[in-house]
Symmetry: C2
């Protein structure tokens, strides 16, 4: 075996591929052996995503999202990653840079050992979930490129099974809301942010122009569980199909369980569900969880959350922050396995530096190129 | 993008690989495009594994194990699989052949979509877990070969973290037991099958020749929970480190929980834990689970069981039937993530048709070749 591998190495380094003889026809020739001294290097630079519309949720409004773009280079191949850091979540470009400065990927012989590398990165400091995701995504992109495979293949998923994505209609005046709904003609499912005084007005305004199914995100905005239940009954009449995060994440799980047991609509935990251990905690209290790479520390833990939630019979929504096509593409490889996709993040920004997963007729459409399936926009 | 892919396809079909220009240096060239009309074909043939020693557990003795060897061919590449069917588990070469005859892989465009394909195979009929594993393993081998990657890379595990494997010392007379222990000099951990009248004699006999740590498998042999607890206390004094399946799988989970709560040793469910849903059921009742490919229907569900068990904080043992190096190699790619490996199945047979994962100085040593890492013995 060693002889054959040496043979590969020497011929492959010349840039040529050969079909192996005899039994080894069973094995696809590897395109090119790695240089024995290849090491990973991580680089990063701040980026400010510009939003197409002022973005308003229950607690804040803003026109930009601070980001960090990462690259991990290894033996002539580069993987791309991203941290999206909406200000209310606590991470900043400064905290992200400080975290990334502590990440030493040079000590690993190769990038394939994701379990160990990402456990090490996670152990550098608590929190910093977007910064950790920026490493995780770039590593996944790198590994997929080195394997010549998109991640849906590595995970064994059929990308054509990805669902429609919802498209968020931000809180605004009725005139603007109607305009936004009309602009969203391509999308088959619309998402509404609730938790303010004008919730009914929002829904009625949307219903004045479309009967598309809606998903509702209360973003922790409701306080009283009976009022929440009454509200959900009203929402169901308006063809809302699922409700996200009714209460504050500090609300006792028993209140979530009370509501979930009685609710005619599925209740999905978003802010309450950050990482893998939260899925376990939320089991029995909610119908399902919203998995986002910027909360989960990236693709590897998101995949574990998916497996755990499915094993426990929980529903799964796949969400995002406002982020570029880099992180959206990374998340989209999980989309074939989820009940609801909410991957409109890159559609909301006007200066996306990447092309990758797109939305075609409202459906999440994953790029077939290796890695997370992105390229830098020309 | 389309142009570039066509370029790849045409040059790659000539058997040559090129490094893509510009941005596409980011992507390893694919060795060879698939023939557009390639389809998978499954073939299988019965095989009888001959045991080196008469194999005795709590309920039976035997000298051979009926098997089925599978191959899945796709576009000139072949993946190997195996069903091992110890008679007391209920599957036979006949039932396996009848099941495999119903598996139509020709309808899938390619083998990468493991989630869908294996869900379809699982839905053909209930049970038949070894027959299903024979399809799953061959598919995994095929996919890994097509990707040019061993499964530990695809799963992101470091193969050097695989633990020592235990080596089973079958129930026998003291003279034979001593001889078997001496023959097992290479192994750092020995496994003892208990649940008979002569349990103490077995342990004392082994202790007369070695102080290596022991794992104990009661194989459902114990009836009384207080007696089991007393026995475990005695076993702990004899440097037994873990106990498998104390009670019948029909025993109420409350009895397992009672024992686990009080036991000074971890309690692992084996016969009680067949598939993914059993891990969920056993959570809280046992310390951990023994995952075997012939129970789990193969590698994909075994990997999910590993993720689920780890997410729930449960311990994991990786086990096997008496089987060839094919199924043992397949299982071994999970070994870096488990607490105890019990992968001596191929060491117990004298007519192994495969070479693959081996045991070196007692440690599970995974082959670095693509797929599950096996080749047919010359």
């Amino acid at each position: 075996m060693t002889d054959r591998r040496d043979f590969f190495k020497s011929t492959a380094l010349l840039g040529a591929c050969v079909l192996a003889p005899g039994l080894d026809l069973q094995v696809r020739p590897r395109p090119r052996a790695r240089s024995p001294k290849a090491r990973m290097t991580l680089t990063y630079k701040p980026f400010t995503a510009t939003l197409r519309h002022v973005f308003t949720i229950a607690m804040s409004s803003r026109t930009t999202t601070p980001e960090m773009l990462t690259e991990i280079a290894y033996d002539g191949v580069v993987g791309y990653g991203e941290a999206s850091m909406p200000p209310y979540l606590g991470e900043t470009q400064e905290s992200c840079a400080a975290f990334l400065a502590k990440v030493d990927l040079g000590k690993y012989a190769h990038p394939f050992e994701l379990e160990t590398i990402l456990a090490d990165v996670d152990a550098i400091a608590p929190g910093n979930s977007a910064a950790k995701a920026a490493v995780d995504i770039a590593l996944h992109d790198l590994v997929g490129r080195l394997m010549g495979q998109p991640w849906y293949n590595i995970w064994g998923f059929n990308p054509t099974k990805a669902p429609y994505t919802s498209f968020t209609i931000g809180i605004d005046t009725p005139d603007v809301v109607r305009k936004k709904v009309q602009e969203a003609a391509e999308y088959k499912v619309l998402k509404v942010k609730l938790g303010r005084e004008n919730d009914h007005e929002m829904i009625e305004t949307i219903r004045s122009v479309t009967d598309k199914p809606l998903t509702a995100d209360a973003n922790q905005g409701w306080k009283d569980r009976q009022k929440a239940l009454d509200e959900i009954a009203w929402l169901k009449e308006k063809n809302v199909v699922v409700v996200e995060q009714p209460f504050s994440k500090e609300t006792p799980l028993a209140d979530f369980a009370w509501l979930t047991e009685r609710s005619p609509l599925p209740i999905i935990a978003d802010e309450s569900c950050q990482r893998l251990q939260d899925v376990k905690k939320l089991y029995g209290a909610v119908t399902g969880v919203n998995i986002k790479l910027m909360k989960s520390t990236g693709m590897r833990e998101a995949h574990k959350m998916l497996v755990l939630a499915r094993s426990l019979g929980m529903k799964v929504m796949l969400g995002c922050m406002t982020e570029t096509s880099c992180a959206i593409s990374a998340a989209s490889h999980l989309a074939p396995m989820v009940d609801w996709a909410d991957l409109d993040g890159a559609l909301l920004i006007s200066n996306d530096p990447f092309v990758g997963t797109t939305v075609v007729d409202g459906k999440v459409t994953v790029s077939t190129t290796p890695g997370i399936g992105v390229a830098k926009r020309a």
